[in-house]
């Protein structure tokens, strides 16, 4: 009799355990299922891979700097430091940049001139759009009407005048100079700008963009203002 009771209890307990486990499984299902398909995952993978290669190249660059330091530390540590400072200054846009590049001149459209329309300055929105689309290429040095674009450059409207680095831009015509890292890049940029829908955006504002053929000896002016470091502080010495 006793045994029979326990066998009954065992069966019931088995069923209860099974039900509880199933309930547990159901409740603990992950909140959001991964519904990405293969292509989305591949795209994410390619983005990550690109990041990976960028990081690798950065590491190798750092390594070479380190090697240079080590090699030069015995001979003249000062020289190595000066070189690095110069490198950083050129990266920040504080020195002139020369190399293969193109010149973009922005002029009032002949139709507007023929009709005798008022020629107005370029709007900051359009200029920002132009700079952004050009910046989709890496390693470019850009100056607009003699104003070098650096990381802290602002293109904005000050009292009705479009300014770059707080310097007003001329009413068209004016030129923008772009130096690319290599001749190939300059050619790519040239072709990109020729076929860019951006030209239509300029035409809406009665402006015409002329892109010069890539030149090998383009020079972009240095940034002449002062870069203010409001939040940047010197690191504590080690």
């Amino acid at each position: 009799m006793r045994k029979k009771i326990f066998s009954r209890f065992s069966i019931i307990l088995f069923v209860i355990g099974l039900m509880m486990a199933v309930q547990y499984n159901t409740i603990n299902e992950p909140d959001s299922r991964d519904t990405r398909d293969v292509w989305e995952i591949r795209q994410e993978l390619s983005v990550e891979k690109q990041l990976h290669s960028e990081l690798l190249s950065e590491i190798s660059q750092m390594d070479s700097t380190l090697e240079k330091y080590e090699a030069a530390s015995e001979a003249s540590p000062e020289q190595a430091l000066k070189e690095t400072v110069e490198e950083l200054r050129s990266l920040a846009g504080l020195t002139e940049a020369a190399g293969p590049g193109i010149e973009v001149s922005i002029e009032p459209s002949p139709e507007a001139v023929a009709l005798g329309q008022n020629i107005e300055g370029i709007s900051p929105d359009l200029l920002i759009r132009f700079v952004n689309s050009v910046n989709s290429f890496n390693n470019l040095e850009v100056s607009i009407d003699g104003n070098r674009l650096v990381n802290t450059s602002a293109i904005r409207d000050i009292n009705g005048k479009t300014t770059v680095n707080a310097n007003p831009i001329q009413t068209p015509p004016f030129t923008a100079k772009i130096v690319a890292g290599s001749t190939e890049d300059a050619e790519k940029l040239y072709n990109y700008l020729l076929s860019s829908p951006l030209l239509d955006d300029f035409y809406i504002d009665d402006l015409v963009v002329t892109v010069s053929e890539p030149k090998d000896d383009m020079v972009v002016e240095a940034y002449d203002g002062e870069i203010s470091y409001q939040h940047l502080k010197e690191a504590e010495g080690e």
């Binding site: 307990l13 088995f14 355990g17």
Partner: protein
């Protein structure tokens, strides 16, 4: 007694290892069924301790309670009344009562044993 524990462990491990799942819409019914079965289980243990245990009552109560609770929940969903709350309340109260009775019975049993030991000693 160990056989019962083994049964419970077997059921849990089988459920977890096979990774069985039910559609989330039915999770409510299953939870209420689990509650009903626990209620029946503790009722059975109490009856056993009170020497009132009946096989037929136990097994029929187990399945009937589960079906009734799930049926009530189903009806509640279709009528727009949260009837499953009634089932949860009823089973919950009974569960606590049963466990309280089991505790008292076990305590009384233990006290009896101790007394018997003392008188023997």
């Amino acid at each position: 007694m160990w056989l019962s524990v083994l049964g419970l462990l077997l059921g849990i491990s089988l459920g977890l290892l096979t990774d069985m799942q039910i559609p989330p819409e039915y999770a409510d019914y299953l939870s209420i069924a689990v509650l009903a079965s626990l209620d029946t289980l503790f009722g059975g243990i109490r009856a056993h301790l009170q020497h009132m245990y009946d096989d037929k009552v136990f097994v029929s109560g187990f399945f009937f309670n589960i079906v009734l609770a799930a049926g009530l929940a189903f009806l509640g969903v279709h009528l727009g009344v949260d009837l499953y709350l009634a089932a949860i309340f009823a089973f919950g109260v009974r569960l606590f009562q049963n466990i309280a009775v089991i505790r008292r019975l076990l305590l009384a049993k233990w006290a009896n044993k101790k007394e018997a030991g003392e008188t023997l000693g």
